[in-house]
């Protein structure tokens, strides 16, 4: 069968140069290949550079100074969830609600970001933790905030030959993630919501909300953030309506736009009554049991 060749660089530096070389020949990185599997191999891609065989790859999670958590973009997300260093709740919950145990053993954070699906589950947690991506290319390394990378469905601002090495998450007091899929495993999000804030009594500060599958990219929700000053039912109800100004959902095979708006409001309303289900812990337990 004709198809791209696969190279498996053993060192980070080699991966970068390999990608630069491959670039001339229109190559591309591959990690868990779980998106590649769905999209199929494009015959115009003569070379794949596998980012999962580097012996000097960073650990799945590291704690940096200033409370920053550095998460590997090329480790399987199950390794991130298992790491001894804790990660923000929003990301942990997103991983728990992601695909299935098998897919979580392959899929990576870098692949989820680069695939740039508006429904990508790991991206809203990055948005609410002001994540900064560590990128590498033959030209050197640079840091870019997550929101500057998302350009549209399937589109990022990553440069040719550039790959995501790690993601730095900023500390947040409270955070969480809720996915609404049509079944409890192996389902693409119909809508999703990540949040983070600091709280004094019932008053909220530094509120960040990010929604998935309701716009061409995962989006911050400034109108809803402004409205969400408190976790009382009345205030939350206002935020649940305000969020409609932050999103532009479409009708597709999975859902009508009206339902995406309605259901996202529902996820915001759930913030007033945080339950075990809402945070997804029950789901993750069940998923774990099933594995």
């Amino acid at each position: 069968m004709i198809g791209p060749t696969l190279s498996r660089p053993r060192l980070v530096r080699a991966a970068t140069t390999q990608l630069a070389d491959a670039l001339c020949a229109r190559g591309r990185p591959v990690a868990g290949a779980t998106d590649l599997l769905i999209h199929g191999l494009d015959t115009a891609t003569p070379e794949l550079v596998d980012l999962t065989a580097m012996s000097d790859a960073r650990p799945p999670v590291e704690q940096l100074s200033g409370g920053v958590t550095r998460v590997s973009a090329t480790a399987p997300i199950s390794a991130i969830a298992r790491a001894p260093v804790p990660i923000p709740a929003a990301l942990a919950q997103a991983i728990a609600q992601f695909a299935s145990p098998q897919i979580r053993n392959r899929a990576t954070l870098g692949g989820n970001i680069a695939n740039a699906s508006p429904a990508a589950d790991l991206v809203p947690p990055l948005v609410v933790t002001d994540a900064v991506l560590g990128l590498r290319s033959a030209d050197g390394a640079r840091s870019v905030p997550i929101s500057d990378v998302l350009a549209g469905p399937g589109r990022t601002t990553l440069r040719a030959g550039e790959w995501i090495d790690y993601v730095d998450l900023h500390p947040v007091e409270h955070s969480g993630f809720r996915k609404l899929g049509y079944r409890r495993a192996l389902a693409i999000a119909v809508v999703s919501l990540a949040w983070s804030w600091s709280a004094t009594g019932t008053r909220l500060r530094d509120v960040r909300l990010a929604a998935g599958a309701v716009a061409p990219t995962v989006v911050r929700c400034p109108h809803a953030e402004a409205a969400l000053t408190e976790l009382t039912p009345a205030v939350v109800a206002t935020a649940a309506t305000a969020i409609h100004q932050d999103i532009a959902p479409i009708d597709d095979l999975r859902a009508h736009a009206w339902y995406r708006r309605d259901a996202l409001s529902g996820l915001v309303r759930e913030l007033a009554a945080p339950t075990e289900e809402q945070t997804g812990t029950q789901l993750s337990e069940r998923n774990t049991t099933a594995s």
Binding site: M1, I38, S100, L180, Y182, R183, R184, A185, L186, A187, I188, V190, L253, R254, A255, H256, Y259, D262, A263, S265, G266, L267, R269, E270, A273, P274, T275, E277, Q278, L283, R286, N287, T289, A290
Partner: protein, 748 residues
């Protein structure tokens, strides 16, 4: 004791019937070692592929195979004109093997390719140039279709029957509930997609391909190729599931055609997407049900109107509608019942046989109506059902025929209602947390006939041969399509013969060796096949009895076996004709087969407890109780397996599964967008095997594998209604549909 001891000295043997003995191939299945029909290969075999229509309805103006045939490695390109008899069956409305003049659905097969490898075959399939002239598309089973798909219009069949005076009874009922329900086209999703191998050798064709009806497929092949029946052999297992999809599957015919035409071994294995697009579906129905009750909760009348969409051709559609008619009154007794049903053609997917066979659709309407009536009457849904149940030996509401004394509808209802999930339902609901999740518990029940029904001459057969070394081989049908039926036959044989289980070998699924025994369908295999096995074993047993010496004489089965072989008494045949109803009631005697009522029915009652998120419409199942009346469960383990699998399929039907088309063009074409429940979507299932005994069945057994699919959806709907006040009428009950219903309720 008058029979020879199993081994010299062996005194006591425990019975096999009633034990959960593992199936013979279970270790090979779980370890992946089992070679399924599609795993089969031989050196030098060719590979097949199918060219399929992209149009829901179009005239074929021209088929040009030259580019495909010129592709290096292509051995044959076959079109309609290459098929000696181009129809699957004898009715002009049956599907063609390959479309000739017109295509009537997306995915309809137009050409078959044989090539040296699969990529070449697939490439060549894409190179067949078909010129189509699109025709108006019939997008559903509506009466105002833009065109006729067959001469004589789009009605494929109708059935109407009334007992008593339904209108009058409804007019003077205290409460009348009228529900209009729709159910979706469900996909079987057998884990192994259709395919296998075929070989042509010395003027005979052998096909290895999954089939629920090897005899029927053998006839289809013989007819299509115009060969004598004896020159066609179908080996139809091991196969990875069926659920009705392998009743009318054309894959065995494609394989035979390719092998016959190339005179070489051929392998064909359809992809999941091909299977979803071209394969059969559960008939989508619109069912309007009216039920009338008096104040005390006595059922006065059932009125059921159903319209089914069978797609472009007749396969199982008319029989599916017939079964809907018979079970439109469910397990209930009332003096006034009416059914009026129509099955119509469309350019949607061909709908065929599917576990439950027309019952889940009408039962969803009926059970929903009965639950709603109980709520309106302010009566307990169990009491309302209990008070109106059909009794053992009683008369069927619609046809007035007598039903078997083994009917245990009441016992399944009582067993399910005795479960704590049912009687603690209010306390459980009251524990709901303040958030969006509301708790509810629902109950529903169903009954389903066993076998093809009266007037059909439904028969199963078995053949037995004793070998000189004391082994007993039995060839029996219906076939094993994943439910370990051969193991149950073996258990029946062991207890009938009263010889060692290990000496008995049961073979199913090979049309050359197994006498014609009909389909693995209609919940009939255990009952019909088991009975035939029991009869053939009784013949041998009688011979053993007369030739035997008293126990302890030291004469073993080996001695007797050798003598039977030496004296030409080693082979036995038997057949079991399923009994017709004792009294045909209101059915005219000359049209008994048109209504085909059953004497023997299996029953199930199910309780579902669940939570609904009223903000989002999500449903979270907590558990299902499945009480089932199987008569005597010959193998309780596999019976529970059938119940759990049935409930899981019922959950899919209720909450997830919907094959969708847009103007006749499929949109849910893979398992990424056609969702079935995963392991974490199926809650704990507690199966209760209600004790019963069917006197005409083997050791008291009857069929149960379909009825377990039926109550799940209406029980889920009732639980949702109880939890939220919104009573769903449309399947599947997706979050979006539930939210739409809840929002309308909030607005009101």
């Amino acid at each position: 004791m008058t029979w020879p001891a199993t081994r010299p000295g062996a005194a006591v043997r425990s019975s096999a019937v009633g034990r959960s003995l593992p199936s013979e191939d279970s270790a090979a299945i779980v370890s992946g070692a089992l070679e399924y029909v599609t795993d089969r290969q031989v050196d030098g075999m060719l590979h097949g592929a199918v060219h399929r229509s992209p149009h829901p309805h179009a005239r074929i103006v021209d088929v040009d195979t030259s580019r495909a045939a010129a592709e290096p490695g292509v051995v044959a390109v076959l079109t309609a004109s290459d098929v000696p008899f181009n129809r699957l069956g004898s009715d002009p409305h049956n599907p063609p093997v390959l479309a000739g003049d017109v295509v009537r659905q997306v995915g309809e097969a137009v050409a078959l390719i044989a090539a040296v490898d699969f990529p070449t075959a697939r490439r060549a399939a894409a190179l067949v140039d078909v010129t189509y002239e699109p025709l108006p598309v019939v997008t559903g089973a509506d009466a105002d279709a833009p065109t006729s798909l067959h001469p004589g219009g789009n009605v494929a069949g109708t059935i109407a029957f009334e007992s008593g005076d339904v209108e009058a009874a409804l007019a003077d009922s205290a409460v009348v509930v009228d529900v209009d329900t729709t159910t979706s086209a469900q996909e079987h999703v057998a884990i192994e997609t259709p395919g296998g191998m075929a070989e042509w050798d010395l003027g005979k064709i052998t096909v290895w391909c999954g089939s629920q009806n090897p005899g029927l497929h053998r006839r289809f092949i013989a007819q299509a190729l115009q060969l004598p029946l004896d020159d066609v052999r179908l080996v139809s297992n091991p196969v990875g599931g069926a659920f009705g999809s392998r009743n009318d599957d054309p894959a065995p015919v494609y394989l035979a055609l390719l092998a016959w035409s190339t005179k070489r071994p051929i392998h064909l294995h359809l992809s999941r997407t091909e299977t979803i697009i071209a394969g059969p579906k559960r008939h989508p129905y619109r069912t309007r049900v009216r039920v009338g009750f008096d104040r005390s909760g006595s059922l006065r009348a059932i009125d059921s109107h159903a319209v089914a969409d069978t797609g472009p051709y007749v396969t199982a559609g008319r029989n599916v509608l017939k079964t809907s008619a018979e079970l439109s009154s469910g397990p209930y007794a009332t003096a006034n019942a009416r059914f009026d049903g129509t099955v119509r053609y469309s350019n949607n997917a061909n709908a065929g046989a599917f576990r439950g066979f027309g019952v889940p659709q009408v039962a969803f309407g009926l059970e929903t109506a009965i639950s709603a009536a109980a709520a309106e009457l302010g009566l307990d849904p169990v009491d309302v059902r209990r008070r109106n149940l059909l009794r053992p030996g009683g008369r069927h509401s619609l046809y007035g025929h007598t039903v078997s004394r083994s009917l245990r509808a009441l016992e399944t209802l009582d067993a399910a209602a005795a479960h704590p999930w049912w009687h603690e339902r209010d306390a459980w609901a009251a524990e709901s947390t303040p958030g969006p999740w509301r708790r509810g518990t629902g109950i529903a029940m169903a009954m389903k006939g066993v076998g093809m029904g009266s007037g059909k001459g439904d028969t199963a057969r078995a053949r037995l041969i004793v070998s000189a070394n004391g082994e007993v081989n039995i060839w029996a049908g219906p076939n094993h399509t994943g439910q370990a039926i051969a193991t149950a036959y073996r258990q029946v044989a062991a207890d009938t013969l009263a010889i060692d289980y290990d000496r008995i070998h049961v073979h199913v699924g090979d049309s050359e060796l197994v006498p014609e025994s009909g389909a693995t369908a209609a919940s009939r295999s255990m009952y019909a096949g088991g009975s035939a096995v029991q009869l053939v074993c009784r013949k041998l047993r009688a011979v053993l009895d007369e030739s035997a010496v008293v126990e302890g004489s030291g004469v073993s089965f080996d001695d007797v076996a050798a003598r039977l072989v030496a004296t030409g008494r080693a082979e036995y045949d038997a057949e079991f004709v399923l009994p017709d109803v004792e009294d045909i009631g209101r059915i005219p005697a000359d049209s008994l087969a048109d209504y085909a009522p059953h004497a023997v029915y299996g029953c199930s009652t199910q309780v579902v407890r669940l939570e609904v998120n009223v903000y989002t419409g999500e449903v979270r199942l907590h558990g299902v109780v499945c009480a089932v009346d199987a008569g005597v469960a010959v193998n309780p383990g596999t019976t529970v397996g059938q119940a759990e699998g049935g409930v899981a399929q019922g959950i899919g039907f209720a909450l997830f599964e919907e094959y969708r088309l847009d103007d006749g063009v499929p949109v849910t074409t893979s398992l990424e967008n056609y969702l079935i429940p995963t392991a974490v979507d199926v809650p704990p299932i507690e199966t209760i095997l209600v004790s019963g005994h069917e006197e005409t069945g083997p050791f008291g057994a009857k069929g149960m594998s379909e009825v377990v699919v039926v109550p799940t959806a209406p029980a889920i709907a009732a639980a949702i209604g109880t939890a939220t006040g919104f009573w769903p009428r449309q399947l599947p009950m997706t979050p979006e549909r539930l939210r739409a219903g809840l929002a309308a309720l909030e607005a009101a």
